[in-house]
């Protein structure tokens, strides 16, 4: 057996990785909650954001955390444009139309990245990539501690935007009552695009947090988004607290199962928890009951 210290350390590091999963899931669940579609391009867009961070760092020598300040506005604009001028018009207002368009988009993006960067993996090394933070007797990975803090801050910021600003209230209104929203003069296409843009900006934050300790290749995003999909369903489709708690939970479960079952089986725990939750609570942890 492992010493309690190793177990606690592993679980805390898992919890903090889970925070980054949560950030990816946050955008996905927000888009689902408002547009009522599963965004199949989310993984490819995460890859785009990671490449952007990599480019900014490799070319201009910027720190990956600072790169977030550059990449987040770019991803926001990209998300807005994609939804407003491509996904929205191409789907003709039909939900399965949007679904297919986002799926097509993910294939296009992935192949464009393959053409531009080949399938090599790219990394950024910073002098803190392997640094640890001492918390009493515990040793925690510095990038994960930062990731955890930034995720919590981003979630609070998102909550404030959704509850304190006009556009945030409009987003929540459109999520549940499109006609009513139009009749007070809210432009639904604009709100859809803003929602998509916010989801993409969350991906930029996640990308900046991941790059100091992960690599990027044109397929990287897909692996993360599979976990994010699981989190969204686990937490309750469209629920922001659900995505946060679900993400943290998945991080802990993954860490526990890799510790006890070995690295290669780490993800089995995730899907076990997933299946058990859905058997007990089909709407997810925070999902509205039908």
């Amino acid at each position: 057996m492992y010493s309690p210290q190793i177990v606690v350390e592993a679980l805390l590091n898992g919890l903090m990785l889970g925070a980054i999963y949560a950030l990816i899931a946050l955008g996905l669940t927000l888009i689902y909650g408002v547009l009522h579609i599963v965004n199949f391009a989310h993984g490819a867009l995460l890859t785009v954001a990671m490449f952007m961070v990599w480019l900014v760092c490799a070319r201009y020598g910027l720190d990956p955390y600072l790169a977030i300040l550059v990449v987040a506005p770019l991803m926001f604009a990209l998300g807005y444009g994609l939804q407003r001028f491509i996904i929205g018009p191409a789907s003709h207002g039909k939900d399965n139309g949007i679904l297919l368009v986002t799926l097509g988009l993910s294939i296009i993006i992935e192949n464009a990245l393959l053409a531009a960067f080949q399938s090599d993996t790219r990394t950024i090394t910073t002098d803190y990539s392997f640094r640890v933070v001492e918390l009493g007797p515990l040793l925690l990975s510095f990038p994960r501690v930062v990731g955890f803090g930034v995720t919590i801050a981003t979630t609070i910021l998102l909550w404030l935007v959704l509850h304190q600003t006009d556009i945030g209230k409009a987003i929540r209104a459109v999520a549940k009552e499109k006609l009513g929203a139009s009749l007070v003069g809210i432009s639904v296409p604009h709100v859809y695009a803003m929602t998509f843009a916010i989801g993409c900006a969350c991906l930029a934050v996640a990308a900046g947090l991941l790059m100091p300790s992960f690599y990027v290749s044109p397929k990287t995003g897909a692996a993360f988004v599979l976990v994010a999909f699981t989190i969204v369903v686990l937490g309750g489709m469209g629920s922001i607290p659900g995505a946060l708690i679900g993400g943290l939970l998945i991080g802990v479960v993954e860490a526990a199962s890799s510790l006890f079952l070995g690295d290669s089986l780490g993800q089995i725990g995730i899907f076990l928890i997933f299946i058990v939750t859905l058997l007990v609570r089909p709407t997810g942890l925070f999902g509205a009951r039908a």
Partner: protein, 233 residues
């Protein structure tokens, strides 16, 4: 104030409005009456820009609105309180009211909310509650209050009495009378013919996408055809 000429619209291949013309003048209460399914709600949706017109014109205070999008129409002061209320159930009562003024500057919004609370003291008591938890009558008040927040020059009310208890229906008509007395132009779309004709100055009767009858409400009240069709007399 509102001039609608030969308006046509529909869904997919089926035409629902087949050439509707009507007017609402400043300060007037105009009733648009007709049984279920004749196209009253469709007319309101075309007027507020959520269903496109296929032909015809809509002029509102001189501006051509037949191709305008909903935000432009709301900004012009043509405000539609829809059938079935369509309030935001996941937002608080106060947030619902605030969003009513989405197209207006933020300044003065709090004062306007207070004015609505004066008209509907019930809403003030429920200010922090989710709108979805309100009773049907309260939801209707909220929908009208949200409409007032948009600073209407003309308020379209689609079936405000639908689904309310008889007592609430009385209260609702009394309220509409008070709004009208304050000088607000109102287009009242109803199936409740008797009470609407009491309140309105003029009325239009709609059947299958046409206006078949129009005139002073007092004259229509004694119209034999109308009595037969709607009042069962």
């Amino acid at each position: 104030m509102l001039e609608v000429r030969d308006l046509r619209a529909g869904y997919g291949g089926t035409e629902v409005l087949r050439g509707v013309s009507l007017d609402v003048n400043a300060g007037e209460v105009v009733a648009v009456l007709g049984s279920n399914g004749v196209g009253k709600t469709t007319l309101n949706k075309v007027l507020s820009g959520v269903v496109p017109a296929t032909s015809g014109t809509i002029r509102f205070n001189g501006a051509a609105l037949e191709h305008a999008a909903a935000p432009e129409i709301v900004t012009a002061g043509l405000i539609h309180v829809p059938e079935g209320r369509k309030i935001f159930p996941n937002l608080s009562v106060r947030e619902n009211l605030e969003l009513g003024a989405y197209c207006r500057p933020r300044r003065g919004r709090a004062a306007k909310v207070d004015q609505v609370y004066e008209i509907f003291p019930k809403l003030k008591q429920r200010a922090r509650q989710y709108a979805g938890t309100l009773s049907g009558g309260e939801q209707q008040m909220l929908a009208i209050g949200r409409g007032l927040m948009g600073e209407p020059k003309l308020l379209i009310l689609d079936e405000p009495s639908l689904g309310l208890s008889p007592l609430m229906v009385e209260e609702m008509f009394a309220l509409i009378a008070r709004l009208a007395a304050s000088g607000l132009a109102i287009m009242l779309v109803e199936q409740n013919v008797v009470q609407s004709l009491e309140l309105a100055g003029r009325a239009y009767i709609m059947e299958n996408g046409f206006i078949t009858l129009s005139g002073q409400a007092s004259e229509l009240k004694s119209n034999a055809e109308l009595k037969r069709a709607y009042l069962g007399l």
